[in-house]
Subunit: 343 residues, 4 copies
């Protein structure tokens, strides 16, 4: 049993992580911290966990966390970096579900996240936790930067094309749509049902933090310089990311379906659907799967990749558990076999 701690379990990423960890046969959940909710039983805040999680939130406390083998941070950006150095020193492994260690260039990070990085020297040590790219490094890692939700869907959709140099990397477009849970569980007007239901909108069109993360990931697998137009949208639903990815093909003779299928044939959580498929976000609701389909509208030179994930699972908590499984030499699917809830 892996002794696990969770820092910050009061958001939607947190409750999803707890749901997955509570059902994981190799995890002993030792501590869940929350400064604001210390003392409150977790299952009082999240009644779905009644009978499954008996812990109460406790104050964040490094001495307790150090008794764990692995600590997940499901905190706002900027929190993990203040605690990670001491945990690593104590031999505790860390998976950060926030963005503190995702961007390798600290200046770019500081530009987008509007704060000073607390431990820039650790950024190099962190492994970007996208198993479909970095499985080997993840196995040996002590610090994982768990990818963002949009970056997971977008990279998985573009990767086979960019790796093989089949698209013009200077004109990629990602039009991505997210459910409202991506906006978190803080009190706000913007996240009210009455502000988000029955409406669709683009947001952060001028620039979004996930854009440099995606570009960084794609640049690692190509010699071309990646230029990406990234437009996120707020969609009136709870969960799910649907990405519609556009690229200009520079070679129209390749069997794209075959390319994607062979790229992901050994991946337990990437499902390349049959030609002509139209993946729905609901087909992955609650599951750690990314489903992908490839189209060439009217047989033109524009390829359209459709990729769907559950932003809280493969886009956050599920991927974190997948990374844990890899780090601790478990079958990668352990605790992640849940089937998506449909309808």
């Amino acid at each position: 049993m892996i002794k696990v701690g969770v820092v910050g379990g009061t958001g939607y990423t947190g409750v999803e992580l707890l749901r997955l960890l509570a059902g994981h046969p190799q995890v002993e959940l030792r501590v869940i911290t929350s400064r604001s909710e210390a003392g409150l039983p977790v299952a009082t805040m999240f009644p779905n966990l009644r009978g499954h999680v008996d812990l109460a939130f406790s104050m964040p406390d490094l001495s307790t966390l150090k008794t764990c083998e692995l600590v997940f941070f499901a905190t706002p950006n900027g929190t993990a970096m203040t605690m990670v150095p001491e945990l690593l020193d104590a031999g505790v492994r860390v998976i950060d579900l926030a963005a503190d260690f995702r961007i390798r260039d600290v200046d770019i990070w500081q530009h987008w996240y509007k704060m000073e990085h607390a431990c820039p020297d650790l950024i190099d040590k962190a492994v970007y936790g996208l198993p479909e790219v970095n499985r080997k490094e993840i196995k040996k890692a002590t610090l994982i930067a768990n990818p963002g939700c949009y970056p997971t869907a977008t990279q998985l959709g573009f990767l086979p094309l960019v790796e093989q140099g089949l698209v013009d990397c200077s004109s990629l477009i990602a039009d991505v749509k997210s459910g409202v849970s991506g906006a978190g569980r803080s009190a706000s007007v913007a996240g009210l049902l009455c502000e988000t239901s029955e409406s669709m909108k683009a947001y952060a069109v001028a620039g979004h933090r996930h854009q440099p993360e995606i570009v960084q990931g794609l640049n690692l697998v190509t010699d071309q310089s990646v230029i990406l137009t990234f437009v996120p949208h707020l969609t009136p639903m709870l969960r799910g990311i649907q990405g519609t990815l556009y690229g200009t093909l520079n070679d129209m003779s390749v069997d794209l379906q075959e390319l994607f299928e062979s790229r992901y044939i050994d991946e337990p959580f990437v499902d390349v659907m049959p030609a002509g498929s139209l993946p729905e976000t609901r087909s992955v609701k609650g599951a750690n799967t990314c489903r992908i389909a490839i189209h060439r509208p009217l047989d033109g030179d524009t390829i359209v990749v459709l990729a769907v994930i559950d932003n809280l699972v493969k886009g956050a908590a599920g991927q974190a558990v997948q990374n844990m499984n890899i780090m601790f030499d478990l079958d990668e699917r352990t605790g992640l076999n849940g089937i998506a809830l449909l309808p």
Copy 2:
């Protein structure tokens, strides 16, 4: 491994049953029939099952079904009764998720279901599959009439009061609200998103088929004659039943919280919440749990019981699996440990 067949797996009850059976460690799913979809891989119709269910729908065929130890019917009302006799004769056990065997008085059944019963002699043989009432009989049963969704929530909410004679049984009211999946997966105008979303309405106020089922169940546990006003409502959501049950107390000295807690203390799937709780349907989304809370508004003589279930799980497929576990001497929780998805 229990050899299992499913007749009619193309509705929402069907896909939920397949989800649960696919994740059940003691089940070998042998055959799924559908007259209309024969030949189609199940996972093509329900992409959430990709990678989990490899079977294709096949034509209903008694000889194949007879190779199973247990057959579930997830068919429209009136189908199971035409096939059950032959299956029982062949030693196959049956759980009918439809209504064919729920009502003991065949005249009442024929009145409400507007058809002649094909095997009225088998009705007595059938056990009403509400484990919280009939666990012992279920254990020995060969034919289970799996309860309706509304009847499950309503009976579990009223049972402790009616059993103890604490309410006036001649004036019970059940105001129940259901998600749209209760209306099934047939092509219809009434079930369109554009007809049901962003709207609330009562329906079948003049009389609903589940009313006599509930009355029958409650009459079994009391000497009083039960008169129930039952008003179902269509609620703009996918899943969930929320029941608000009203009764007039004839003894106001009883500790109702204690009564409910002790009644259900050994029940793995009934959760009596702490005093003052307000159960939400989302707290049981995808789970086989019924959560109950008890209130006495303004300390008057009206008791208000709040009961929530997932209509497709504890109200249908989950309860069917729970019955299977009991029939086959498995731990009742086997394959039903999934935690509700929140949000």
Copy 3:
């Protein structure tokens, strides 16, 4: 043209009031105040008003408000009562959409609203603005207490029965379901889409502020003492209240359909639907109409009245405009002819 001011226009009741006033041919909208948003153009906050409302929010200022003939308060409870006395003294008429003047017994008001009343002497002067009961008094009123949303639907549904003494007033039950806009537009976790969508729950079962308001209203039209069990529910939709009202008939010979039709025959905004109808909230979305249908399930002695309104229109802003029309001797329908948006 009536010179109109609005105090507090940043909530959902406020924006709905602005929508109706902007389309009203006899209204000159002079000032909209908001302490927190002073300076912001109204249409920046509510883009649906772009091109229709040119005003910006301004600081609340009595001298400006005094230049109006009528001031609406769309403020939180407790605000209007601090400004109303001076406005009335200046000859300005007032319609308060909040609860400050709804309850005639100041002790009861203070008990439920948890504050001291600032001008208890004005309560008697206030007219409860339910035109279907108080039209004559409204015509002469200088201060209107606009009814709550639940109380509007519930009273309109029960009134004909209670007025005629046809039900046992000691055992009335109102099971009412509201869209989330009833919870207002403040930043909160409880109102997030991710907390309210795809879920149904009862709330405030122990007691809700609208219960005494309804009881007060019904007590005025009967000699019996009204005892009401009132259970509100939060429904996953934007707008709409659906009330299912239960009473025990003490005379089963009356033609209830005829009773309701004749009671409301001259009412422009109460629509008694044909026998057997099942009103949907969407049929009044955006309209000032209350639709009602009457049922007697299984021909028993329980009458079930179904009543639907749009909580923001007939339950708030629309009723306020209706009251204005009456006060200023306009056709009661002026500016309220909008047809409900379906779907």
Copy 4:
């Protein structure tokens, strides 16, 4: 008063047209036909129209329709073309909300609509009813081809750029998202709430009928050859189209905000929002407005135009009424002043 008939009023476009016509001060609604619902009062099918529309559906009958000055067709594709010739001969003007007369090249039309055209000679006579392009022709027209919903939003968004030659017309991308009402009101599984709610997906990626309509419209205003990748998406909401339009700028010195503002300055139903705006579909719910905002992400050479409409209003019934107003020399805004419902 314009004597108006409506053929086929049972779909969502139909009920929206009836809502607008019922509130139009210059319209006398004479006849509404429906083969399937003949005899049924319109307001029985659509209760929101109770008290506003007294007509019943009648059998389609040319002699009655010929007594009208204007007939709207809110029918499935392929119906109008069978009746229009005779109506035009009788001097009746026609607005077809379906696609029968939208495509000028009859071969292309027949390819996409999979049927033979019944009156190809009339196609040239038809005026494409996009007032922002064809106002003068509409004024004199006897037959209007009312634009599709996607084409309205997409053309209005691209027009200023294409007219001025500012983008590379060979690589336009339109990623558009529609509410479910766009799929119509026929009984189907695909349109059920349980198939569409809480899910997002692209559809018709291989090719959609609205693509050639958009290309035709844009080709009229440029010498370049337009190549458009058009990807529609089904969004879990009732109404609304959100278009995210991508083009590569060939001149980065132009003030795009000014370009759009001056292009649409005299248009009553196109609202160019301030720089940096993020239009929401809910800001036009029920209104005939198209709101547009222009962005250049990270100051690159990709322009992103955001355009939102209500698919049933500016995308269908509202635009039809706008066309009627133009044809009959009324103020273009008559009957179209309704403010969007928010929330």
